[in-house]
């Protein structure tokens, strides 16, 4: 078996390439996914390769919002779909003997939109995802990114949205039938990272204001898995608080100014160890 490490980080267009390199090298990241990356992808891949000692390459994409870099020796991946806003990019991955689809998302932020509008937008993006997958053979699915919603918000849980659940056991059936239509449930392990009774920060994004309902911590960066991938989950989803020697948390236990205003998340798959098929890029 071989462990493949995935990273997702919304960089907020901050010039923190050194931190990114340090994190990738320290945690042996094989697949790095970035939102709001202010550095041209080729430049980032070059710096990552030179500073981490691993060989990263960019992946062909028509989304300018989302950047995926892969460690050349570890994985093969091809983008096969991008939606109109570039907020959803789908890639067919082959890691060892395990084929699956990696969906990378960066949903619209809440600024100027109410909860209902954000939920509708999440449902529209989820429909993009379902439509694109409908014409392909069903394989494992992993959805990762900045959803700009908490795991409990409607767009994340409703059947026409991302239909994600807080426990693996909710995925005992690969499809659930609602009003005669089948929907694919997804497991959202980020539910388990909330609050201060688990290791690590209480969320991936911190914002405190004087509004009547204020959670302070927000779990907007999330990863979701379909039932096919559950047997391969090694690291279910972790909020990262260090990039090498540098803490991403300040002394008040909030995301530090030295990094992005989002904390990165990581997860790992432990897959049967056979030769990857090379992507035809």
């Amino acid at each position: 078996m071989a462990i493949v490490n995935f990273l997702f980080w919304n960089l907020k267009e901050r010039p923190i390439t050194d931190l990114v390199c340090s994190l990738c090298a320290n945690r042996q990241v094989d697949v790095a996914v970035f939102a709001e990356c202010g550095v041209p992808p080729d430049e980032l891949a070059g710096r990552l390769s030179s500073l981490s000692g691993m060989t990263y390459r960019t992946t062909d994409s028509r989304s300018h919002r989302l950047v995926v870099l892969v460690n050349e020796s570890a994985v093969a991946c091809d983008e096969f779909y991008v939606n109109a806003t570039g907020r959803l990019s789908l890639r067919s991955f082959q890691i060892g003997s395990v084929p699956f689809v990696l969906a990378v998302v960066h949903l619209k932020s809440e600024v100027g939109w109410n909860e209902s509008e954000l939920s509708d937008e999440a449902c529209a993006v989820a429909d993009d995802l379902r439509s694109a997958l409908a014409v392909r053979p069903m394989t494992g699915l992993c959805v990762v990114g900045d959803f700009n919603m908490q795991p409990f918000e409607r767009g994340m849980v409703v059947h026409k949205g991302f239909f994600s659940f807080m426990t693996r056991s909710s995925l005992s059936a690969e499809l659930r039938t609602i009003q005669g239509r089948e929907y694919r449930p997804l497991y959202n392990p980020m539910w388990g990272c909330f609050g201060d009774r688990t290791p690590g920060p209480a969320g991936t994004f911190y914002r405190r204001d004087a509004s009547p309902v204020c959670y302070d911590w927000h779990m907007v960066d999330q990863v979701l898995f379909s039932a096919e991938l559950l047997p391969y989950l090694a690291n279910l989803g972790e909020i990262v608080e260090r990039a090498g020697d540098v803490s991403l948390i300040d002394r008040n236990d909030r995301p530090s100014n030295s990094g992005s205003d989002h904390l990165p998340i990581m997860f790992s798959l432990d897959v049967p160890n056979s030769l990857p098929e090379l992507a035809s890029t």
Partner: protein, 177 residues
């Protein structure tokens, strides 16, 4: 004394139907044009997504030889009414690739300034809303000439020129049923 009455009806909406195609005809025609001009290296699908309050038509360009799909733009309208329609253009290119962009100082403002601004009423003009078939045609033409659409098409043409991908999944776009 009687004052001569004036015809107040707008000209653009009362044009003879045979002079301006309907939005759906126009989109379908652009789809066929693209396929013809690329010798079917690019093909167009027009799937629609429906919710209670709106329908979204996705102008999706597929590269059959590479099993790749890219939604070039979307058209939003109310259920049962094709007009008014609003085009959702492709995402803007990053600043370092744009021919021209407006640099906003907002990134340097304090959070409280930003929040104050968000509370004040603002007028937002949507340049991509079309109310009549003629406007739809004009705006579609403008959209297809944008840097983003041209860049996406160029990229898809490059992709289509590559050797066909082996072991394609069975999909309508690559001719399999």
């Amino acid at each position: 004394m009687t004052v001569a009455a004036t015809d107040l009806w707008p000209d653009d909406v009362l044009v003879a139907p045979e002079t301006v195609p309907s939005p759906l005809e126009l989109l379908d025609y652009q789809a066929r044009c693209l396929e013809q001009r690329t010798s079917n290296r690019l093909v167009v699908e027009l799937p629609e997504y429906k919710t209670d309050d709106r329908e979204t038509l996705r102008f999706t360009v597929a590269v059959p030889s590479q099993d790749y799909r890219c939604v070039l733009f979307e058209v939003l309208h109310r259920p049962g009414f094709m007009l008014p329609a609003s085009f959702i253009p492709p995402e803007p290119l990053p600043n370092y690739l744009r021919e021209k962009y407006v640099s906003s100082p907002s990134a340097y403002w304090s959070l409280s300034q930003k929040m104050r601004e968000e509370l004040e009423p603002r007028t937002i003009e949507n340049q991509w809303v079309a109310n009549t078939p003629a406007e739809f045609q004009t705006k579609l033409q403008k959209l297809l000439q944008t840097q983003e659409i041209k860049a996406l098409l160029a990229s898809l043409m490059t992709m289509a020129s590559r050797p066909p991908k082996a072991n394609l999944p069975v999909t309508p776009a690559n001719g399999a049923e």
